[in-house]
């Protein structure tokens, strides 16, 4: 849309003010074919699992029992609760780390921007499974080199199976690219320099500026980043599985072997939750855009 507007503006006074829209050509047929085929490909694996879980094949009737089974399934509450807690902790930690960083880079240390950008994008280059192999190697130092020292104890404490903080630490790294992109977009559009200068001139301290000026201005970006991070943590399997912790996704895989219907039902529900989170983000994005343009 913007490119179109620029194109028209770029033509200057010479361009006739009317057309823009190119003449329609033939080719409706292939377009329809593409849309139908790809649409089917995306809709069928979405509808089939629902059918799979509400249809009782033996009796030929419909049933809701696979969904009713979920809350009471052994291990479900524990695994889901843990994933949710990990998600919340990750959101808090990643925001505490990144909001000050992004603001500081924007206002005081613009020469660090490239470094920060590269480092936040690095997790996209390192496959999670490779990262987790490295993390395992580091954790293996605890019994080998640090046994009985405070560092060693801290490393063991990170691996408490009930609440594995090490997962939070790794998830923060995995979330960096998304969080940085969301926050950076918000900061760039906010005119933060003026606002913070005004606040400082009125005598506000830096922590106060962060809490009462920066955070409210960035609220859509912060929400956006939080939802993305939460969705990421709720669906993360690789790191948890390799480090041997029980989270929601690893529980689904474990159950999948013995109770296919149950695992599919849980998958359908978890998809709906994730999609709701992500749709909320895009709704927020659209609201922000209309706010800016008005």
């Amino acid at each position: 849309m913007t490119a179109l507007a620029e194109g028209v503006a770029g033509a200057g006074g010479v361009a006739p003010p009317t057309p823009v829209r190119a003449r329609r050509r033939r080719g409706g047929a292939w377009r329809l074919a593409v849309l139908v085929v790809i649409g089917l490909y995306f809709l069928v694996p979405f509808a089939a699992p629902v059918w799979f879980t509400v249809r009782d094949r033996g009796a030929g009737t419909f049933t809701g029992r696979y969904y009713a089974e979920i809350p009471g399934a052994p291990g479900f509450a524990e695994a889901f609760g843990r994933s949710l807690l990990l998600g919340v902790l990750t959101v808090v930690l990643v925001l505490a780390l990144m909001v000050p960083t992004v603001v500081l880079v924007e206002l005081r240390l613009p020469r660090l921007r490239t470094a920060v950008e590269l480092l936040t994008l690095a997790p996209l280059v390192v496959p999670p499974i490779a990262l987790v192999v490295g993390v395992r190697s580091v954790l293996a130092w605890a019994p080998d080199h640090f046994y009985g020292t405070p560092v060693g104890d801290a490393m063991f404490a990170l691996q408490e199976p009930a609440l594995p903080w090490i997962l939070v630490l790794v998830y923060v790294v995995l979330a960096l690219p998304f969080v940085y992109r969301a926050l950076d977009a918000g900061v760039r559009n906010a005119g933060l320099a003026t606002l913070t200068e005004a606040a400082r001139n009125l005598g506000a301290s830096w922590p106060r500026v962060l809490l009462t000026v920066v955070l409210p201005v960035l609220r859509t970006s912060v929400l956006n980043a939080s939802f993305l991070t939460l969705a990421l943590v709720l669906g993360e399997y690789t790191v948890a599985a390799i480090l041997g912790f029980q989270t929601f996704p690893t529980w689904i895989v474990q159950v999948g072997g013995s109770k296919p219907q149950l695992s599919v039902a849980v998958s359908v529900l978890s998809l709906l939750v994730t999609w709701a989170l992500l749709l909320l983000i895009s709704a927020l994005d659209r609201r922000r855009r209309t706010e800016e343009s008005s």
Binding site: A22, P45, V116, A130, V264, I281, S282
Partner: protein, 274 residues
Amino acid sequence: MPFFLYVGVVLLLPIGVLAVEAFRSTDPTTFEESWSTDSIAAIPDGPYGRAYLGSLQLSAIAAVLGAALGLALAVAVLGARRGRLLRRLVLTASGVLANFGGVPLAFTFIATIGSNGVVTVLLTDLGLGLGGFSLYSMTGLALVYLYFLIPLMVLTITPALEALRPQWREASDNLGASGWQYWRHVGGPILLPPVLGATMLLFASSFAAYATAKALVGSSLPLVTLQIADALSSNVVVGSESIGKALALGMIVVVGLVMAFYAWVQRRTQRWLA
């Protein structure tokens, strides 16, 4: 800044340790550690070599297919008549689906065309069958990967398509060019770098995928990610841990090269589509 400290400890340190320890090996009898390239040298052999080949093939096929279909979808949607609603729908859905890999994806496909899936049962009842297709094969895995690769392609290529100025098309029309000639001489060459770049991105994404493959096929297919997990969980073979590290290091190198190429292509793209 705490940011650099954090990234240093949780991201760079593990990668550094990985890069160093991939060159250490443990003697099977004395358990003494020493420097060696044994683990790295083991990569091209036997199961590990096959795993790399399998992963590269799967990722290449899935990336090319995903890029072609995603491009077709993006072009179809952007050019559609009365397409604003359709376009918003497809872009929003892409944003959601591109982030949706992993375990639930595998299970939805198992419920659809797994051995007991809804579509499988339906086709068998109709007497058609799946014609030798199996979800638990490389082809099946590629089919599943496309579910998040196509939306990823739509998301990455849409900005480039939107930046194609209508004036270019009008100019070539006015000069008497056919649709084919426009794409052959104008649109195609401009779009080639971003399409290549996006394909690289798709490749890296399917190369690194583990959860979907694991939930779908266990460890029965030759894929690097599955081999790494196997090597780590095996307590029987001494030194398999070190093989796992070497394999993981290899993955970082492959993805790093691909992404470097992507960055280079991106810079070239800026020239026309800034």
